[in-house]
Amino acid sequence: MTVAADLELVERCRNGDDVSLLRFVERFQGIVFGLCFRMLGHRQDAEDTAQEVFVRALKSLHTWDRERPLKPWVLAIAANRCRTALSKRAKRPTPTEFLVHPVTEEVGPDRDDLAEELQLALDELREEYRLCFELFHFQELGCDEIGRILDRPSGTVKTWLHRARRELARFLERRGVAPRARFELEAIHPPSS
């Protein structure tokens, strides 16, 4: 979507046009809900938070800087809401539903669900590493843009990203997760012994 289209959509939303409000939500709900889900690791919490994100974004459209793209602005609100939700969760007594994935060292036959394993690994990451990883790999933002959202220099973002990848990779390895066949080196270059 072009900047002009973004501007038009925002103007219509500000005028209270229901169709445009729905279009705004439809346009961003995938990325916002995805971010909330991976940050919070819980579907219901992610839905509630994503809804809050849209209500807040639509009410504060007048604060959006028209010189900058709309997507990072929406993602910044989502990142803030997730952080708030996580800090609220940290203050609450831990309900049992958040303990459904105990981290173990055991290797089982069902370790091939990479997406699920990655979510487990993300849950174990520090909040800021997780947010960096999410914004870089799933939202495809650059380090500068992530730095602006997190109010950190891009060098710090790069460091956090490297640490996040290293910890995630080690977690997956510990869990005995196997890569897809195309990533097996032996398939192309059998080890010379």
Partner: protein, 243 residues
């Protein structure tokens, strides 16, 4: 321990991922099989890449449109109610401020009238303190008068008609009125200060606070500063009036 070749290989792997370039290329593969460290590093990052790919392909779906519209509609009336309540309170405060300004204007006119009256009725200071009954002789025979042993008539002091007491009384009245006015001004400006909002940053446009700390940032209250300034001004004006 990885040797320098392995370190370089790992660095190039990381750079490639940073640049969103594929790591599953013949070049990387050829280097990966050269030793165990390279092989393990490549396998680890490749595993992560494939996990990200798979997660991306399986984005969770949700339909939030109606829920968001409902939330927006339900929050709008509450805000309107709050706005109405604030408007009513503001209108009351404005009416009260206007009444106080009216009283202030009246007090100011009274003071002006008193000061004007005091200035007009006060006789010149030198005339009052040294009243001369007879005008001095300016005919040029001053020397004769002295030579004649002071036969020139000595002017008799005229008794004062207590003008100082009256002026002091008027000034005391004016001072009391001024203090009253100062108090009114304090109240009036305190009301005005209510309209100076406490500034709170908008969540949507403010950068996030540092991630290690949860300390919220807030600028110093403009309203408090304004109140303190007013208090200082009024206190100083009281001091000036007393002296």
């Amino acid at each position: 321990m990885p040797d320098s070749n392995s370190k370089q290989f790992i660095r190039r792997l990381r750079d490639a991922i940073d640049e969103r370039e594929p790591i599953d290329t013949p070049e990387f593969r050829a280097e990966a099989v050269s030793n165990e460290v390279n092989r393990a590093a490549w396998r680890r990052y490749a595993l992560l890449e494939s996990a990200v790919e798979e997660t991306r392909d399986r984005q969770p779906t949700v339909d939030l449109g109606e829920a968001v519209l409902t939330a927006l509609r339900s929050s709008a009336p509450n805000e309107a109610t709050v706005d109405r309540a604030v408007s009513a309170r503001t209108a009351d405060t404005i009416a009260e401020s206007r009444r106080r300004f009216g009283r202030m204007a009246l007090a100011l006119s009274t003071i002006a009238a008193l000061v004007l009256f005091a200035l007009l009725t006060r006789p010149p200071r030198d005339t009052a303190s040294q009243p001369i009954a007879v005008a001095p002789d300016r005919s040029g025979n001053d020397g004769d008068a002295i030579a004649n042993g002071g036969s020139q008539p000595i002017p008799e002091p005229v008794p004062e008609q207590q003008p100082e007491a009256e002026i002091d009384e008027l000034l005391a009245d004016a001072t009391a009125a001024y203090r009253g006015l100062a108090r009114e001004t304090r109240f009036a400006f305190a009301d005005l200060a209510l309209f100076v909002p406490d500034f709170k940053p908008n969540d949507a446009e403010v950068p996030m606070p540092p991630m290690e700390t949860d300390e919220g940032w807030a600028p110093p209250s403009l309203r408090n500063g304004f109140d303190r300034t007013l208090d200082l001004l009024i206190e100083n004006s009281d001091e000036a009036t007393r002296t």
